[in-house]
């Protein structure tokens, strides 16, 4: 069994940022395990520009950004084509690689396995099950990595930012997005997204629209939809289900680490430590889903915690304050506050609500308000909670809720 100082599971922005930062902090024995043939993560197949400003003061395409992340992580060993099949107590990591299976061990393990979109099956969508139905991720990789055009006329489901990646990718492939469907009443991506879709891509944007059934076999021929104007069938040979990211927790579920059903990621404290302090987590594994620079920042912050804990400047937690979401608060991550807290938090307290609303966002303990502020909250926007961790050492459990809510 080979032992390392740090093992990083996942070579995307969070994992590679952590590897680079660990090296900068003088940790010299870091191994990044990446199951794909190339490290870099999701940006590798996001061909559009918009990456790297926070990190490198450059505006880069996804692949260029991934390349730069990899260059900065040159101090670590990056093992590609290497799949982690199980994690265990004591930092034991089961690995399957081109050379067979082995067990690795490390003093600290950073989990940075990212997130993926919810595919059609898990959405329980009605209809036939033809070829031609995929996620944005599959679409991007087929176009940009395999050089294939998977369809010519697509319907895109969802209106998070990633849906607009679909539009770009389809256009690059010489295909047309005939419609973009959003279940809720408004487009979720920020800015003038609806206008952009229509003016730049010639895509009809339909809000309040639900997929009634997928049609066709063996290839998709159309989508029947329902919207405020009634029912209609849109002819297409491709359907892209975009967004609704879920953390990739396949390794955590069977492990000894606790998973938060609310956000789908591991239970962590403000130092990115899971319920076993040997294991830390960063990036979109924590919760769905933030931009690459956030994952990058979290990876860096987790690396600093790892360095501090290896050097003994960050003690293990003595006890925790558990944060419980209530009412329209869907989740909060980190889910607990570790005490003592001698260093500033590595991860901000990040919450999401389940519908657009206005009200007093507050943290309650034994019917006492510890913190509160009037806010307008939208479901797909990140909301940061400036919790006074140091002053909460005596609180065992605190509730995060929106008082006097008014739905928007």
């Amino acid at each position: 069994m080979s032992a390392h100082e740090v093992i990083i599971v996942g070579g995307g922005p969070a994992g590679l940022a952590a590897a680079a930062e660990l090296h900068r902090l003088g940790i010299r024995d870091t191994v990044v395990l990446e199951r794909e043939q190339h490290a870099g993560g999701v940006p590798r197949h996001c061909r559009h520009r918009g990456f790297g400003w926070v990190e490198f003061r450059r505006i880069l395409t996804g692949p260029a950004y991934a390349q730069r992340l990899l260059e900065h992580a040159a101090g670590a060993v990056v093992r590609t084509g290497t799949t982690v099949t199980a994690i265990g107590s004591g930092g034991a990591v089961q690995v399957a690689g081109p050379g067979g299976r082995e067990t690795l061990r490390a003093a600290r393990v950073l989990l940075a396995t990212g997130a993926r979109e919810t595919p059609r099956a898990a959405r329980l969508v009605s209809g036939t099950r033809p070829w031609g139905v995929f996620t944005t991720g599959t679409l991007q990789q087929m176009v940009y990595l395999a050089g294939l055009r998977p369809c010519r006329r697509a319907v895109v489901v969802g209106s998070e930012l990633v849906a607009f990646s679909s539009l770009l990718t389809l256009r690059h492939a010489g295909a047309r997005a005939v419609a973009l469907l959003e279940e809720s009443g408004t487009v979720l991506a920020p800015g003038p997204a609806r206008l952009v879709a229509r003016a730049v891509f010639g895509t009809r944007v339909i809000t309040g629209a639900r997929v009634v059934a997928i049609q066709g076999a063996p290839r998709v021929t159309g989508v029947e939809i329902e919207h405020p104007g009634g029912r209609e069938t849109i002819a297409c040979d491709g359907v892209v289900f975009s967004g609704r990211f879920v953390p990739e927790t396949a390794l955590l579920r069977p492990s000894h680490l606790e998973v938060d059903p609310g956000c789908g990621g591991p239970v962590v404290d403000q130092y990115a430590r899971t319920t076993d302090p040997i294991y830390l987590a960063a990036g979109n594994l924590l919760r769905p889903v933030e931009a690459s620079w956030t994952a990058w920042a979290e990876g860096r912050a987790a690396a600093r915690v790892i360095a501090a804990s290896l050097r003994g400047t960050l003690p293990e937690a003595h006890h925790h304050t558990r944060l419980e979401p209530a009412g329209s608060v869907r989740y909060i991550s980190p889910q607990r506050i570790a005490h003592p807290a001698p260093l500033p938090a590595a991860l901000p307290f990040n919450l999401r609500v389940d519908h657009p609303l206005r009200g007093r966002l507050r943290v309650m303990a034994d019917s006492r308000e510890l913190w509160g502020e009037r806010r307008t909250l939208l479901p797909e926007r990140r909301v940061l909670l400036p919790l006074p961790a140091g002053r909460m050492a005596a609180v065992a459990e605190a509730m995060v809720e929106v008082a006097d809510p008014v739905a928007l």
């Binding site: 199951r35 794909e36 043939q37 084509g81 799949t83 099949t85 399957a96 081109p98 050379g99 067979g100 299976r101 993926r116 979109e117 595919p119 059609r120 099956a121 898990a122 329980l124 969508v125 009605s126 209809g127 036939t128 099950r129 033809p130 070829w131 995929f134 996620t135 991720g137 599959t138 990789q141 087929m142 176009v143 990595l145 395999a146 050089g147 294939l148 055009r149 998977p150 369809c151 492939a173 010489g174 059934a213 076999a217 063996p218 290839r219 879920v246 396949a250 579920r253 069977p254 998973v259 059903p261």
Partner: protein, 457 residues
């Protein structure tokens, strides 16, 4: 093309018959209209190996199941076919259901399943800790098992081919005439001439039967929808958890799959469709709720896949297997949920009919065994080997070698579904998010429906 026997239909039943006859020295060809074998009823079922404990006493169905069950156990190791020894539990939740357990047990014993036994509630919950509280008792049937419903017929196909059988895919039978002592079948791939035709056309058995006679039955497809939970749920379920059946259906079961998932289904819906059965959001949601009511721990686990299968039901419950001695025709129809278990038994029964009416069988002195790659979670998989090479599908841990092997050989995957059934690629929790592009790249030009076209340079 000329041979002794033409079998119409490449489902598990047709393939088992093809295997049996070709191992008996009969020159046989199988005609399948789909792009691959298992394109009809056989592609969507619960993949269980049944004891026949609840089959109609004295029926041909029971006899074929018992024989098929025994033969599967006898041959499975030589074909590298798995057996997940789960046992089955018919669970009673109401006093009325509990009152029916002794009759279910008596039927099981009468059917020769002598190790079936009653279980009280404490023993039941001890054996099945994931089960929701409140069960009143169960009938335990230790011999009910989970198998790989796609690899088994694939193995039968390979073994048949190793004994000289031919399989024509994309071959629709359009009609046929009896000319002298032989049938001349008109197919989309030319004329096929054979003294004996076996109708194993499943969902189209009544259409095919018209070639020989006015069909004495009509196929009335009965749809079953299923949901497949993530592999993370596998430890929650031990046995095949069955409800006390009603007159109409055996009801919704929850069980492990050979691939390491938890399966819930099927529904039983009479439909008109014979192709591409649809799934329905409301029904799938109901199945998910139902499964989580039976096994509350499933609430924390996602759904990986959903599917629907069609049972080729007829007006009556029993198998319709019959030889028309004067017309060189054997009908094998109305094989519903028990076809996977019964197939080997059906094949022996059909071989008996063939020998009695049409010609002798000469058993191969040294049969050829054609083991298939293991896809079962409990056995060794190629990714666990010393030098597995590239892992393409991360959720199901499918290697590039496995995908390439499935795209070549004597019976390469005929379509994307066939590739998935042979390897498990694209069948996991991400449904292709990570590896879809790579599978398409490997399959490009080799599958008709991997129909992504190359981008212009």
């Amino acid at each position: 093309m000329q041979c002794d026997v033409a079998i119409i239909g490449g489902g598990v039943v047709g393939l088992a018959i093809l295997r049996r006859l070709s191992m008996g020295g009969v020159t046989a060809v199988l005609l399948e209209k789909g792009a691959d074998i298992l394109s009809g009823a056989s592609k969507g079922n619960s993949a269980l190996l049944h004891t026949g404990f609840d089959a109609p006493p004295g029926s041909l169905e029971l006899a074929c199941m018992r024989a098929g069950y025994a033969e599967y156990l006898e041959i499975r190791e030589r074909l590298n076919l798995p057996l997940v020894e789960t046992g089955g539990l018919v669970v009673a939740w109401t006093p009325a259901e509990a009152a029916r357990l002794p009759a279910i047990l008596a039927q099981a014993h009468g059917n020769g399943v002598v190790d079936a036994a009653l279980m009280d509630a404490p023993a039941l919950h001890a054996r099945e800790p994931g089960l929701a509280p409140g069960a009143l008792g169960a009938v335990l049937v230790p011999g009910e098992h989970v198998i790989d419903g796609w690899s088994a017929p694939l193995a039968y196909a390979h073994q048949a081919m190793a004994h000289g059988a031919a399989i024509l895919r994309g071959c629709t039978v359009e009609g046929g005439e009896r000319e002298g002592d032989a049938w001349v079948l008109a197919t989309s791939r030319g004329e096929v001439r054979a003294p004996v035709v076996i109708n194993a056309a499943g969902l189209y058995a009544d259409h095919v039967e018209r070639i020989a006679r006015t069909p004495p039955f009509t196929i009335r497809p009965r749809k079953g929808q299923f949901v497949v939970f993530d592999k993370t749920a596998w430890p929650l379920v031990n046995a095949i958890i069955l409800p006390v059946p009603t007159e109409r259906t055996k009801g919704v079961l929850v069980c492990r799959t050979a691939y390491g998932n938890v399966l819930a289904g099927p529904t039983a819906e009479d439909v008109d469709e014979r192709e591409s059965p649809t799934v329905d959001e409301a029904v799938l949601e109901w199945l998910v709720r139902k499964a989580r009511a039976l096994v509350p721990g499933l609430a924390g686990h996602g759904v990986n896949a959903v599917y629907a299968g069609l049972r080729p039901a007829t007006e009556s419950k029993d198998y319709r297997i019959e030889a028309l001695a004067d017309r060189g025709w054997i009908t094998v129809a109305g094989i519903r949920s028990t076809g996977l278990t019964g197939s080997l038994g059906i094949a022996s029964h059909v071989a008996g009919l063939y020998a009695r009416h049409f010609g002798a069988l000469r058993e191969a002195p040294v049969p050829v065994w054609t083991p298939v790659p293991n896809l079962c979670e409990t056995g060794q998989r190629p990714w666990q080997a010393a030098a597995p090479g590239e892992v393409v599908c991360h959720c199901e841990l499918v290697t590039r070698h496995e995908i390439e092997a499935a795209l070549s050989g004597p019976l390469p995957a005929g379509d994307l579904g066939g590739l998935k059934r042979r390897t498990r690629c694209l069948m996991g929790r991400c449904q292709g998010f990570y590896c879809g592009w790579r599978v398409m790249q490997l399959a490009a030009g080799r599958l008709p429906d991997a129909c992504a076209e190359p981008l212009a340079p």
